[in-house]
């Protein structure tokens, strides 16, 4: 019997869809902006795979920090080791993780973002392996499975996994909100892996020829931009260079919209994006895979939700990335939150990597998703 300590950060990810770039200290604001809790939903995708699984025993926290989700998934024989009161906090996460550790769990499975990973690592360090179900706004840490279904696979096949060092990253949320990506290594946890199925720690490239490549990409994109079409520019420095080529300023970490070479709106929330598209506006989405993990959707661009992608059409996604970045990302990932949309991306995709040049890249499709 494998003992799994399971916890959810109930508010993780709420800031993402409303453009807050993180939920730390912003829960109320996120709620006011119309954010709904994401983590329970994300956790269910993983937990659904365990309902008929024998050989797993769960210890957890009360209520929405774990107990409710396990019950909803029909998992029996759970043991609640930690009770929290009022709104759950970072302190509750730390205390729960310590309780799991004391009870001798084999693995802590959590659902949250970088902040949650950091809090759990604070409590247990390298004493017990940890694995994240991605549900936060930022997931630069390498402790996350590539998607909730893969997290389930890592748990059910725990005996065939190996452990590897995985970076827990600390992202400065205030700097991040002001357009600056400041990540620092917070610690090295241990995470179970099947080859190629845990996010490599994200990193930002700083290379001379990167700038040249970005300019080439931007020159090409400008050349093929069609009048009156709305271009939605995702986060990152490659899409930023396109804005620069057009002579406009975009936000580094936000999602912006341009049309006929001019900014329509900056730092759009999912709702605001939706509003721009509602009258049947023809649009294309320009995205760059995020960091070394190579996520097209689901990391850092959460404003571009599944319904936005469906509205615009997968065929109108233009993925851009420099050759160097593509070298570091042998496979691209899609985790839009909607597995059938993710599956619709198929197994390869063209990524524009220069002037009139693209590269054919593989898209990771888990076995389960292919059957959808």
């Amino acid at each position: 019997m494998k003992r799994i300590g399971f916890l959810i950060n109930p508010v993780a990810g709420m800031g993402g869809a409303v453009g807050l770039k993180g939920t730390d200290g912003k829960t109320e604001e996120a709620r006011r902006l119309g954010a709904s809790p994401q983590a329970q939903f994300r956790a269910q995708i993983t937990l659904a795979q365990f309902s008929r699984q024998t050989g797993l025993g769960f210890v957890t926290c009360s209520g929405s920090m774990g107990e409710s989700a396990l019950n909803e998934a029909g998992i029996r024989g759970i043991q609640v080791l930690y009770h929290y009161h009022d709104e759950s906090s970072a302190d509750d996460t730390r205390k729960a993780a310590q309780a799991f550790l004391k009870s001798g769990v084999d693995l802590i499975l959590f659902c949250g973002g970088d902040g949650t990973a950091r809090d759990i690592f604070d409590a247990v360090g390298r004493d017990v392996p940890i694995l994240g179900i991605p549900a936060g706004v930022k997931m630069y840490s390498a402790v996350f499975a590539v998607d909730p279904a893969t997290a389930a696979e890592l748990v059910t096949r725990y005996d065939t996994t190996s452990l590897r060092d995985s970076e827990v990253m600390d992202v400065d949320e205030d700097a991040y909100r002001h357009g600056e990506l400041k990540t620092r290594l917070y610690g090295i946890a241990r995470t179970p892996v099947l080859a190629g199925k845990v996010q490599a720690s994200k990193h930002v490239f700083e290379e001379g020829d990167e700038e040249r490549a970005k300019k080439e990409i931007a020159r090409f994109i400008r050349e093929i931009m069609i009048p009156d079409v709305l271009y939605i520019l995702g986060a990152g420095t490659t899409t930023e260079s396109i804005a620069r080529e057009l002579g406009v300023n975009k936000t580094l970490l936000g999602v912006d919209a341009v049309q006929n070479g001019k900014i329509v709106a900056l730092d759009l929330s999912e709702k605001a994006l939706w509003a721009l598209l509602e009258d049947g506006q023809e649009a294309k989405i320009l995205l760059s895979p995020i960091g070394a993990q190579g996520f097209i959707l689901g990391r850092g661009n959460q404003q571009i939700s599944a319904r936005i992608v469906r509205k615009v059409g997968i065929g109108n996604l233009i993925i851009v990335a420099t050759p160097h970045k593509l070298r570091e990302t042998p496979v691209l990932y899609v985790d839009s939150g909607d597995p059938s949309l993710d599956a619709a991306f198929g197994e390869t995709m063209l990524v524009v990597s220069g002037y009139r040049m693209a590269q054919k890249k593989c898209i990771y499709q888990p076995e389960k998703r292919k059957k959808v």
Binding site: D209, R212, F220, E223, I224, I226, I318, P323, L326, R327, P330, L350, V352, S353, G354, Y355, R356, M357, A358, Q359, K360, K361
Partner: protein, 452 residues
């Protein structure tokens, strides 16, 4: 079980075959880059000898190969035709696969078939020096060898990315006494202006052509030579297909499928035109003639059939051909010889008319095919040639599915002995599958000079 099918030296063809004779209507003429009027022989005489200009436009079916040229060609010709028994067995295909091995020439590829006559005609016309360009270095080394034989000087503008990637090609040129300069260079106006625009450009065949043409046009003792694309170049290469037809007849066979890789089109023309002629004249209506090109520079499969410049700077005539636009700089892939924005006007016309067709492949799949070939037949082919190998394997596997015992012939145009770094990259998993973003691009192709 015969493996090598060999012709005696006396059986080497004495005439080239000119497919222009069998076209239903004449080729669209080259146009002057400024006036957009058809050019005449006088327009070309500044950079080409008169005999090559005549060969460029003639519709005579056969053209004699001069004795002095035959003497040199006999150093390695007739080249062997191989039956790929081991590859067939490995693929478990009922198809018969033959390959024409052009890697036996001193420079290691088919390019010497035209560098020799080109140097010869220039020598005859009193020219003292040749300026030319090279992509991967195959043509540059072939021309260096040829100019040495006829005591001409030679300057080769080598595409910069290849210049650094393939240092030994450069060394070969030096051994044969030629000067090799990375392009774009500061030696020409065209080169200087390209460097000003983009100091870090990897270069392209189009840029190198501009430099060589400018060099030739500005020196009275110097002519220009092109290693592919032009009609006379394709003409000289037809010796490949003519020999193949004889060799296959010796084993009582005729191809159902004929394959060559395509950059500027000359080796594909060389193996394909004699069979295209058979198709055009109704002797063998069903022969399937396939050009294999890179997905990153898919001129025949994704380009437009229109008038475009043959070079970057706009010195050359406008040719009616499949093109990706003369300002297109293909990525620095390993098959440097296939990095050309346009294609031979005759090949283009025949593809446009459905006499020949084209397929395109990504880098990693062609190296995989080349590995299969090396591990069955032994020969390590050039990255360019690996496209033809891939197409031949694909066709043989189709036969395996359908149970057909087709005869497949491909041009094994050159060895890869100087391309081992490309194979290393393949084994290290570092090959990038470049692809031309066709759907996104249609708008930008509208920038090609419009000729009605």
């Amino acid at each position: 079980m015969q493996t090598k099918i060999l012709l005696d030296e006396e059986q080497m063809p004495k005439k080239w075959y000119n497919v222009q004779a069998d076209l239903a209507s004449p080729l669209a003429p080259p146009l002057h880059p400024q006036t957009h009027k058809p050019i005449g022989p006088a327009d070309l005489s500044a950079i080409f000898p008169m005999e090559l200009i005549r060969q460029e436009v003639t519709t005579d079916r056969h053209i004699d190969i001069p004795e002095e040229v035959q003497d040199v060609l006999r150093l390695w010709r007739p080249s062997p035709l191989y039956r790929a028994h081991r590859l067939e067995k490995f693929l478990k295909t009922p198809a018969k696969i033959y390959y024409k091995w052009e890697g036996v020439s001193p420079a290691g590829s088919h390019k010497t078939n035209t560098s020799i006559p080109q140097a010869y005609y220039n020598m005859k016309a009193g020219i003292e020096r040749i300026a030319t360009e090279t992509g991967a270095g195959q043509w540059g080394s072939a021309m260096s060898f040829a100019t040495m034989l006829y005591d001409l000087e030679c300057t080769v503008y080598m595409v910069r990315s290849s210049y650094t990637q393939k240092p030994y090609r450069k060394s070969m040129m030096h051994v044969w006494g030629a000067e090799c300069i990375p392009s774009p260079s500061t030696k020409t106006n065209a080169g200087r202006s390209m460097l000003e625009k983009d100091p870090d450009t990897p270069g392209s065949l189009g840029m190198a052509i501009s430099e060589a043409v400018e060099d030739a046009a500005s020196h009275s003792n110097t002519n220009y030579a092109l290693g592919s694309v032009l009609n006379h170049v394709c003409l000289h290469q037809t010796i490949i297909g003519l020999e193949c037809r004889e060799q296959l007849a010796m084993v009582d066979d005729y191809p159902d499928v004929v394959i060559g890789c395509v950059g500027g089109g000359s080796n594909f023309a060389g193996i394909g035109f004699p069979f295209a002629g058979d198709k055009l004249t109704g002797k063998h209506k069903d022969v399937d003639i396939i050009g294999a090109e890179p997905a990153s520079c898919p001129t025949l499969t994704k380009g437009l059939f229109t008038y475009d410049l043959a070079d970057e700077a706009g010195y050359t005539p406008l040719l009616k051909m499949f093109t990706l636009g003369h300002d297109f700089v293909p990525p620095s892939m390993h098959a440097g010889g296939l990095r050309y924005h346009g294609d031979s006007p005759i090949v283009s016309r025949l593809v446009h008319d459905g006499v020949m067709r084209a397929v395109s492949y990504h880098q990693s799949e062609v190296f995989d095919a080349a590995q299969t070939f090396a591990r069955t037949e032994g020969i390590i082919v050039a990255p360019e040639t690996s496209h033809a190998v891939k197409a031949a394997i694909d066709e043989a596997l189709k036969c395996k599915k359908s149970g057909e015992d087709k005869t497949i012939l491909f041009n094994c145009s050159g060895h890869g002995n100087f391309d081992m770094s490309a194979y290393d990259a393949f084994y290290a998993g570092e090959l990038v599958d470049y692809e031309y973003p066709d759907a996104l691009i249609r708008e930008s192709l509208a920038r090609i000079p419009k000729i009605s």
